[in-house]
């Protein structure tokens, strides 16, 4: 290249620069989580084992807080069990036993082996994969709300797009009024998330609870996610609420992958809807 005239050499360098940048930007825009992971299957195998060792060490340090959270969750579950068994008794007394319980979810417990909170696009890696029934697009919940959605599942682990990812949207609703909106993180603080597209006439007060919406097909409805911190108008047409999350992503260790039992039927309905459009 040394023999070439100066100008031509400069142009060649510029072209190389543009070519390399284009490749980088195309990769970024395509955002190919799937391809990236498919290629990396082999590497991820030993990578995950290293992540696992590290996370088990960190989990050991957090045992006390974890115990507190678990006992609280236990208490809440027992309360619900008591309520439901009471309901069951009253139903049995009336002899009106429903033939089937409509929507049921099953939960696959998993451990978080890699997590980040200080990027704009955060991911989790969990230690359950295809072999345990985890599939892409399944929801992931932690104790205290939605944690994310599975983007890619390998044999024994899965990559989860965290709730704290500015590219991922979720649906959630305002518990008091039932108005739903789009939940999307703005990338600033790991405890605060934004719920937008709430109609202006909705009466929202500070401290109201936000729960997961039944319109989101991947999560059970009614999981409490957080409380309203503040509200502001966006473009004069809708409200944006700032939510303080119940779930602490910094100490997130155990999650459950939500698998919808009748998922296949739902998919068929969705497909038919799409065909009809």
């Amino acid at each position: 290249m040394a023999g070439l005239p100066y100008l031509l050499r400069k142009i060649l360098v510029l072209l190389l620069f543009l070519a390399l940048q284009t490749v980088a930007i195309v990769l970024m825009v395509n955002n190919s989580y799937f391809q990236q992971n498919a290629i990396l299957q082999v590497v991820r195998k030993w990578q995950t084992s290293a992540w696992e060792r590290r996370s088990s060490w960190i989990a050991f340090k957090n045992l006390r807080t974890l115990n507190d959270a678990l006992s609280q969750e236990n208490a809440a579950l027992k309360e619900e069990l008591a309520r439901l068994s009471l309901l069951e008794h009253s139903l049995l007394a009336k002899k009106e036993i429903p033939t089937s319980i409509p929507d049921t979810f099953s939960f696959i417990p998993a451990r978080v082996i890699r997590n980040s909170v200080n990027h704009r696009h955060n991911h989790l890696v969990i230690d359950k994969g295809l072999a345990d029934g985890v599939r892409p697009d399944m929801g992931v919940i932690g104790s205290g709300g939605i944690a994310g959605v599975v983007s890619y599942a390998a044999e024994n682990h899965a990559l989860v797009i965290s709730l704290l990812n500015t590219q991922q949207r979720f649906t959630a609703e305002h518990k008091e009024t039932g108005t739903f909106g789009t939940l999307r993180w703005n990338g600033v603080h790991y405890k605060k998330i934004q719920l937008s597209e709430i109609p202006q006439h909705t009466k929202v007060t500070k401290g109201d609870t936000i729960i997961s919406s039944p319109f989101s097909l991947i999560f059970p409805d009614g999981i409490p996610l957080g409380t309203v911190l503040s509200q502001s108008q966006k473009r004069g047409t809708s409200l944006e609420l700032e939510i303080e999350l119940f779930l602490d992503f910094k100490t997130l260790r155990y999650v459950q992958v939500v698998s919808r039992v009748k998922e296949k039927e739902l998919q068929q309905i969705k497909q038919k809807e799409e065909e009809a459009l």
Partner: protein, 170 residues
């Protein structure tokens, strides 16, 4: 040791260090340690820009692949720095000096000028990295805060590494 072997060893060392150590450091939202930028600053001043860009591309791509982040982000920032590095050196040194200088360093540049050089290189990389990551000018001040925090830490880390491990004796 052969120069290219040394470059490859340095490449692997900094890549592994970034992947195994700095990617896992949780220093909060405003500080993201990326001392791998040092890799490009250790090439001789007269190293061709095209070759620098290819090294940067390879490094960035591998880093993007193995860290569970967004593809192409590190690559784009690193290639941008590779393209501008030689121009920066030319702008910061006198014309006659450049042939004598082998690798940018404290002794070759003078302490003040070298610190400024590292600061500017890190700034180029970080401006591309953080604004591409945000992809909007919405929350501009927050992005700028992340940029500034990381800039200070990384400049310090790079200078520290350089002083400790790569300082050439006269």
């Amino acid at each position: 040791m052969n120069q290219s072997i040394r470059i490859i060893l340095r490449f692997l060392l900094l890549l592994v260090l970034q992947l195994l150590l700095f990617e896992h450091m949780d220093l909060g939202m405003y500080v993201y340690p990326m001392p791998y930028i040092l890799f490009l600053l250790l090439f001789p001043c007269t190293y061709s820009a095209a070759a620098l860009m290819i090294w940067a591309f390879a490094f960035g791509l591998l880093l993007d692949f193995f860290s569970a982040g967004i593809m192409g982000l590190h690559t784009s920032a690193f290639v941008a720095l590779a393209a501008l590095r030689n121009g920066l050196i030319k702008a910061m040194t006198l014309k006659g000096d450049i042939d004598n200088l082998s690798v940018p360093g404290f002794i070759q540049f003078g302490t003040v000028r070298f610190v400024l050089f590292v600061l500017l290189c890190t700034a180029i990389h970080h401006i591309v990295y953080f604004f591409l990551e945000a992809f909007t000018l919405h929350l501009f001040w927050h992005t700028l805060g992340r940029l500034a925090g990381s800039l200070l830490l990384n400049t310090f880390l790079i200078l520290l590494f350089k002083k400790t491990f790569y300082e050439q004796k006269r």
